[in-house]
Each structure stands twice: as C-alpha cells, then as structure tokens.
Amino acid sequence: MLPEILISNFWLLLQGAERTLELSLATAFFSSATGLAAALLRTFGRWPFRIAVDVYVYVVRGVPLLLLLFFMYYGLPYSGIDVAPIPGGILVMSIYFGAFMSEVFRAAVEALPRAQWDAARSLGMRLPLILGIVVLPQAVRLSAPAFINTCILLIKSTSLVSIIGLSELTMVGRQIVERTFAPFQILLGVALIYFVICYSLSRLGRYAEQRMRHAH
C-alpha cells in the first residue's frame, strides 16, 4: 500500500520540487550577490557602509525568516504595497540569506593571509585589481564549505514559503495529504526529495572542493 499512493502522486510532487528548485536557485543567486556586496562593503567600505552592513546583518539574522515572510505577505499590503508571492518570497529570502552569505564571504576574505595582500601591493596593484585577481578567486575556494552549507539551509527554508501560498514541494505534499489521507507515505516522499536535492548538492560541493584543491 505504501508505494502506490506515493507513485501515483509522484509526478505532482516533482512539479512541486521544480518550483522549490526555481525558488532556491533564484534565492541562492540574489543572496550571494547581496552577501558579496555586503561583505566587501563591511571589509573595505567607509564607516557609514560598515555600520549599515552590521545593522543589516544583525537585524536580519536576529529575526525568524517566517516573520519576515509574514511581514511581506500580510504587512506590506496594509501600507499599499502589493508584492506577488513568487518575487516577494524570493526577495525576502534573498535579504534573509544575504545576511548569512555576507558572513560566509567576509570570513573567507579575512581568512586570506595578509601576505597575499603584501605580495599584490608590492607589484603595484590597487584594491579593485587585488580583489579581482588575488583575493576573490581564493576566497571563493575558502568559502566553498560554508557556502554549500548555507545553500542547503536555504533550500530547506523554501518550505516556509508554502505558508504564504506558494505551491512548492512542501505545499504540494500537504495538498496531496489532505486529498489522500496518507500523510506518512506522502511526507516521507517529500522528505526523500529534499534529501536527494541536498545530498546531491553536498556531494557536488565536496567534488568541487577536491577539484579546486587539485588545481592548486
């Protein structure tokens, strides 16, 4: 009895998973861009930028993602701003994970030995060039494990946007459960799909790390 309900609904679940992947990819992209910009401003910017980034990181990290989603979904319409669920969800999650990504990149940039800076400076390089060809290429490698870790958290957190009515994997699963009264089978299937996505990403990350290590 277990496989049949799962098998007959598997296609639906995969469609939910597709939406989950879309949300994850978009959020990973925008939160990385936000995080990188924030990390660079925090490390090399003038003091107003550094303070602004600190405020952003501490405030956003200190508030549950669910609350931020509620704020966007229920709060903003009150002030006359209507955001569609998909771009809204991506926006809120990008802001949220951007704060975590900024710490991932900041740690990597700061972990690079000062000696690399000395060497680049002694060749007459200036900040943008040093960042572009010496610091960031190495920081990407250093940040890989923490970056993958954050991406995995991010993928799983997309299940929260089901609350604001986006039919991603978790939402689709719940809808099927309501229709079939087979919570155990369906939710197990949902969990399995999340696991496969996250595990693949972990392996991919490990593989990329090893490739990068061999290249050096």
Partner: protein
C-alpha cells in the same frame, strides 16, 4: 659593483626615519643612503627593525617621521606648500611600489596561479604590457632562475627554494629600479638556501641595487658592498663587510656575531672570536 662616484644621486635615501607601533618605537631616526647598483646587507637580531625598515620602503608599513626617497621621489608622502606631510594618493603609492621589487620570507606566491601567471600577472595587469610580450619576458626570467620546466606548475608543487626563485622572477618582471629582500632564505631548508642566494648573487653582479635583510653572514661577506647592523630600531654600525664582520666595534655587534659565528667565520681573515678574547 658600487659606483664610487660621490656625485651620483642615491637610489634610496632614508632621512631621519622613525616609526612606532603604538607606543613602541621600532625605527629610531634612521638615516642611510644607498647608491645605484649598491648592495646593502642589513643584519641584526630579530625585532631590531630590519624587516620594518624594508617594508617602509615599499610603504607596506607607514612611517611617521622623516622621509624615504627612491630615485629622488619621496615614498608614500609629499611635503605640501605649508611644510606638512601629506599622504600620496593610492594611485601614486601603487605606481611607486610597482618600481620596487620586494621578495618576502614566505614567498607569498599566488597559489591559484601557475608559475608563468605569477610572473606575468604584474606586467600584464599593472604595467599594461601585451600578454604575449609579458609571457615571453616571464618565460625568460623563469628560465634565468633555472625553472624553465616549471612554467605551468602551481606553486604548491614546488620546493621552497623553487618558490622563492619564482618570487624573485615575479619581482624582476616589473623591471624594478631596486630590489628588497626580506630574510628570503630564512624559511628554507638548509640545502635549498644556496640556489636562492646564487640567483641573488647573479643579480648583484648584473648591477641591481639591492637592500638585503638576512642572517646569511657568508652572503653578506661575499656580496655586500656595505653591511648595516641594526639593533633596537637604530643603525648601530655600518661599514664594508670584511671590516665590519671581522672587527665589530660595538659590544652589541660582537654579541650578535657570537651567536652567528658558525661556518662562515672560518673563512674570514680574522676570527671575531679571537678579537673578542683580545680586544
């Protein structure tokens, strides 16, 4: 190697240079002039300020008082019309650094670049030299330091001595007017020291102006035109190597020499140990 013409303008000049780390003074009123093609070796106990002195020339460290000029141009600062010291723009500072070669104790090669890229990247990205020309220059330099077969290797696959030779080639690729060497053999296994010193000796023969911070007394004796002994941030003694190393005048240099006596001293005409016993 030194041009003995007294009228020739110095390549490097320190005038009353002082530096503090917090409240600790690490350079005390340093004045020193280095002529073009001269090789000056700086010796002294650790913490004596030799590395800091070198780093100030490339403005890898700021200095608070005095001035350092390289080829007549003040490093890091200029004197404004009202007599105040004004920090130069980052562009000017970078341009000055590009003409000063710096070789570090721990090599500091870029680990994500091949040997060829390490050497060519400065000329390409800073001097805007066309890639093909820069790579030709880089290949030539890598060949001259004896690593022609390693152009495509990454630094991690090289020995310390090989990495340091690449670092020298990288600095030379910028066609510097002056080369600074900061304890470049201190991180090397003893059997790898000579290959690096050999490259430096050749460079000195070719007429490069060099300031070399080192503990290699034999190198100081054989290659230096002048030896500077520093202690507690000040120049305690200076002179030509044969005289200074064989006949230290100050007690501090004698104490320093006692600790660095092995090996090289046997080759000196007079053994400082005997001087020590019969002052």
């Amino acid at each position: 190697m030194r041009t003995d013409d007294a009228t020739v303008a110095p390549m490097v000049e320190f005038r009353g240079v002082s530096k503090w780390f917090g409240t600790t003074q690490v350079l005390r009123d340093i004045s020193l002039s280095v002529a073009p093609s001269e090789v000056v070796v700086v010796i002294g106990p650790s913490g004596s300020g030799k590395t800091t002195l070198l780093r100030c020339v490339s403005l890898l460290e700021e200095y608070e008082a005095g001035e350092i000029t390289v080829a007549g141009e003040m490093i890091g600062y200029r004197i404004a019309a009202n007599g105040e010291r004004v920090r130069r723009s980052e562009r000017e500072i970078a341009a000055a650094r590009a003409k000063i070669g710096f070789v570090f104790q721990s090599f500091n090669l870029f680990p994500h670049m091949t040997v060829l890229r390490n050497v060519a990247v400065g000329p390409i990205r800073v001097n805007k030299m066309p890639r093909e020309k820069a790579e030709a220059v880089a290949r030539d330099l890598i060949g001259r330091v004896g690593l022609a077969d390693k152009v495509d290797a990454h630094p991690v696959s090289l020995s310390g001595g090989q990495q340091q030779r690449v670092a020298i080639a990288r600095a030379l690729a910028m066609q510097p007017k002056l080369m600074l060497f900061d304890e470049v053999t201190s991180a090397l296994d003893p059997e790898l020291v000579d290959e690096v010193l050999g490259v430096m000796q050749q460079l000195a023969r070719d007429g490069m102006t060099m300031i070399v911070v080192t503990h290699e007394m034999q190198f100081a004796h054989d290659v230096a035109d002048r030896v500077i002994f520093m202690d507690h941030g000040a120049i305690v003694e200076e002179g030509d190597p044969a005289t200074l190393l064989a006949n230290p005048r100050s007690e501090r240099l004698r104490a320093f020499m006692r600790r660095h006596i092995q090996g090289w001293a046997r080759n000196l005409p007079q053994n400082p140990m005997t001087i020590e016993r019969n002052p």
